[in-house]
């Protein structure tokens, strides 16, 4: 009985679904039309590249493989040809443009003046009409192949005014496998990435950086928001000022901090030694152990404005009833903050934490500009660059990116599971 009822509702639903009226259909079509540019752009530049990144991560591909291998040919002409019967000795030198990939079915053609006859002992070349066509076969990477032919001049050559053989350039063609689209796969990239002793260190640095940067930014933001709660003259200006680190271009502020923190001629070290805080100059960005904390501090400095804005907005929207009631009951200022304000801010703070956590984890520019990943600050994102572009191994870089992608997926799952709906942004 229950079964048939279920079936009936299913059938009803299916019927209802099919019964989309013309207006709904038009609306649907309009919606798809309006969304199509977005879908196209996102598909083309985000989704397909993400998939392509998976593809690259299992391929043995280097930066140099991106340039398709092409055969190149140059000719050298020797011999004094003064009368019919004299011959040119021509050498064609064919080489591959790529140090890594082979080129197959290599052929070149050379357009010659009239009145020449070909003598080619190796049989690689044929002369049909004015065109000399030579078949070189497969060209190994870095290989050079010389093709030597003898061209004997006839009367027709002199009748044409003994033109220069080098008037036209020989042209080579060939087929090479595009490593990007071939079906050659390998797990070496992942093996390399996970086997490297530094990988676990990189992972650890990533996590410390992410937690430290996020926590620091949130704490500073919370503090800044407390300062701005009570109105005072100049609050608007102060609020604008507090947002400067966040809105300024990262290249500008990163380079400024690099100079301020310079171990030899930096203002920061000068201040610290002058005030007697330290005796010797500190190499903030160059010393293992210190550099990581410096980039974390930079991260907190640059992103606290964001936390500040969100927390301030939330605090201003809270009703003051609770605070007033607590005040009546004799709660002290710190008690009010700890037991009343903070619990009401936990929602926004945890949402911010998760969001900033993800974004800090994804961050590349800041560390790359500050230290380039040196002195123990190499995070996963910087490692992608390091592997793919500094060490020219695109496949290994993509493999690191895959690791990032999966970790991110885990964080996002957390985010959607734990962030309360009303805080969701």
């Amino acid at each position: 009985m229950a079964k048939t009822a279920a079936k009936a509702t299913e059938a009803d639903l299916a019927r209802a679904r099919r019964r989309i009226g013309p207006i709904e259909r038009r609306e649907m079509r309009l919606a798809f039309g309006m969304l199509s540019p977005t879908v196209a752009a996102v598909l083309l530049v985000v989704l397909i590249p993400v998939l392509a990144n998976f593809w690259i991560s299992v391929k043995p591909i280097e930066l140099a493989d991106l340039r398709a291998a092409k055969p190149l040919v140059r000719e050298r002409v020797q011999g004094d040809v003064l009368q019919p019967g004299d011959a040119f000795a021509v050498r064609y030198r064919v080489r591959s443009s790529s140090p890594a990939a082979e080129v197959r079915d290599v052929e070149f053609t050379h357009s010659l003046p009239p009145g020449l006859t070909l003598t080619d002992d190796a049989g690689t070349c044929t002369l049909s009409g004015p065109d000399l066509r030579c078949n070189v076969g497969t060209l190994e990477p870095r290989a050079r192949v010389d093709v030597n032919v003898t061209l004997t001049a006839g009367q027709a050559y002199f009748d044409a005014g003994s033109p220069d053989l080098r008037a036209a350039d020989p042209l080579a063609t060939g087929r090479s496998t595009n490593k990007l689209t071939s079906f050659e796969f390998t797990f070496d990239n992942f093996r390399k990435v996970f086997d490297a002793a530094e990988f676990w260190n990189v992972l650890w640095v990533s996590i410390v950086y992410t937690i430290g940067g996020t926590g620091g930014a949130l704490l500073l933001g919370l503090f800044a928001a407390q300062l701005m709660m009570v109105a005072f003259p100049g609050r608007g200006i102060m609020r604008g000022l507090f947002l400067f680190p966040y809105v300024s271009p990262v290249i500008a502020v990163a380079f400024t901090w690099i100079f301020l923190l310079d171990p030899f001629s930096g203002t920061m070290n000068a201040i610290l030694t002058k005030t007697g805080v330290t005796d010797a100059n500190i190499n903030f960005l160059g010393q293992r152990g210190i550099a990581l904390w410096t980039v974390i501090a930079f991260e907190a400095w640059r992103y606290f404005p964001l936390a500040f804005l969100f927390i301030l907005a939330r605090m201003q929207s809270l009703s003051s009833d609770l605070n007033e009631a607590a005040e009546m009951d004799g709660a002290t200022p710190f008690q009010k903050f700890w037991y009343i304000s903070l619990p009401q801010l936990v929602g926004i703070i945890s949402t911010l934490f998760l969001l900033r956590f993800i974004w800090t984890f994804n961050k590349f520019d800041d560390i790359f500009l500050l230290t380039g990943g040196a002195s123990g600050t190499r995070t996963l994102t910087v490692n992608v660059y390091e592997q793919a572009f500094a060490l020219s191994n695109l496949g290994a870089g993509a493999a690191v990116a895959v690791v990032i992608f999966f970790m991110l997926a885990v964080f996002l799952a957390f985010y959607f599971k734990f962030v309360p709906k009303e805080e969701g942004m």
């Binding site: 309006m34 290249i251 380079f255 400024t256 901090w257 201040i271 994102t381 993509a398 942004m425």
Partner: protein, 408 residues
């Protein structure tokens, strides 16, 4: 009474130290005077100063008189402690500056303590009042701290661009600029950037790229956001959720495949390549911000428009768009700032200096052959437009930032 006294001593010491460091460093950074810091003496002098301020209440009810008494005690102790040379120089050498700096130190130290104890009977402090005093003090320190960490780098950036490499290396604390050298010499770094490094072209290219990005982004995201917030179609909920996911995908994951494919297509070292990537990365943010705004508009207005015979597109053009102009403007500014500040793709894609964007151009200055002040002048040039836009449209943008700043 003991509690109040301890609190006064602690605050006096802290503020004595902080004001001495902050004012000492500021004087050096601004005027280039090598004010040797007397932070420790100032810390000690802050204590009797604060105590005097508190006990002055027994002598006079006038707050200004109490303040002056505190300042006087502080100043006398400081001068005595530093052997009559509060700035490291005997009082006689630069009397006016010395007295001015000394007065500022005294006023800020004692003033901060006085503010913390404002209108409070320090002899009868309960826990509530004590915490209030502490909070006042913490807030004051907070303002000093935040102002210092924000102003210092921006001040250094600006001033460095006016200086010469040798001066900077000689005394990294001296940011004073010599105004008598003439404008040409003062702005020599900027002139150099525009003449030799072609920064005019970089600015033009950055502007074109950013504005085109804004136009393309809006062209795609306005209809998209409208469709998501107003039209019914299967998969709508999934779609609006996945938009959020998409802008969490880090750029570094996209860089390798885009680099590989664009290299093969010949799009890599071209502005067209950037103009494909930039809008695609900003469309999700923009769409997300706009759909939230569209949802907030009353749909009755649109329904009324439809009743009066407008088509759907007519309604969008005549009703929705005009109503959401503020939101569109703030999204546009936000996207402009993202595109203007973008570094990663510009750095990875562009090799030819003829098509450098401003960020890419500034990065190219980061070499040992280019002096520091040129790089800082470049940083100033790239920062100024953003800060001007930001300050001009702050109210606008803060809303936009809070709505879309998940990006980041």
């Amino acid at each position: 009474m003991a509690r109040g006294l301890v609190l006064g001593v602690v605050l006096g010491a802290i503020w004595g130290f902080v004001t001495a460091v902050v004012i000492g460093v500021s004087v050096t950074l601004v005027f280039g005077v090598d004010a040797s810091m007397t932070a420790l003496s100032a810390l000690i002098a802050g204590i009797p100063g604060a105590v005097a301020l508190l006990f002055a209440r027994d002598i006079t009810p006038n707050a200004w008189m109490q303040f002056l008494i505190g300042m006087a005690v502080y100043a006398v102790v400081l001068v005595a402690l530093t052997g009559l040379a509060p700035l490291g120089l005997p009082l006689g050498t630069v009397p006016v500056t010395s007295v001015l700096v000394l007065a500022t130190l005294a006023a800020t130290t004692i003033g901060a303590v006085a503010l913390a104890f404002h209108k409070m009977d320090w002899k009868a402090l309960n826990r509530y009042r004590m915490e209030e005093v502490l909070i006042h003090a913490l807030k004051g320190l907070g303002f000093v701290f935040f102002t210092a960490i924000i102003l210092l780098p921006f001040y250094a950036m600006l001033m460095t661009s006016f200086k010469k490499q040798a001066e900077l290396l000689q005394n990294p604390l001296d940011y004073s600029i010599n105004l008598s050298q003439g404008l040409m010499s003062l702005f020599s770094s900027y002139i150099e950037l525009f003449v030799t490094f072609d920064f005019g072209r970089f600015i033009l290219i950055s502007t074109i790229v950013s504005v085109t990005t804004v136009i393309l982004t809006l062209a795609a995201s306005i209809p998209g956001a409208y469709a998501i917030s107003r039209l019914r179609f299967p998969g709508r909920v999934t779609f609006s959720r996945s938009i959020l996911l998409i802008y969490m995908v880090p750029a570094i994951v996209l860089v390798i495949p885009l680099y590989a494919v664009f290299s093969q297509l010949g799009l890599r070292d071209s502005l067209l390549g950037l103009l494909i990537v930039y809008p695609a990365t900003t469309i999700p943010v923009s769409l997300y911000m706009l759909q939230g705004y569209f949802r907030g508009l009353p749909s009755e207005l649109e329904e009324a428009g439809m009743m009066d015979g407008c088509t759907r597109l007519g309604v969008i053009r005549r009703i929705t768009l005009p109503l959401s102009l503020p939101a569109i403007a703030s999204v546009a500014l936000y996207v402009f700032m993202i595109a203007w500040n973008e570094f990663l793709f510009a750095f990875m894609f562009l090799d030819s200096p003829e098509i450098f964007t401003l960020s890419r151009g500034v990065v190219s200055l980061n070499s040992s052959e280019v002096p520091r002040q040129h790089l800082m002048a470049g940083a100033v040039i790239v920062t100024i437009p953003v800060l001007v836009i930001f300050l001009w449209f702050e109210r606008f943008l803060v809303t936009g930032l809070t709505a879309g700043s998940v990006k980041g």
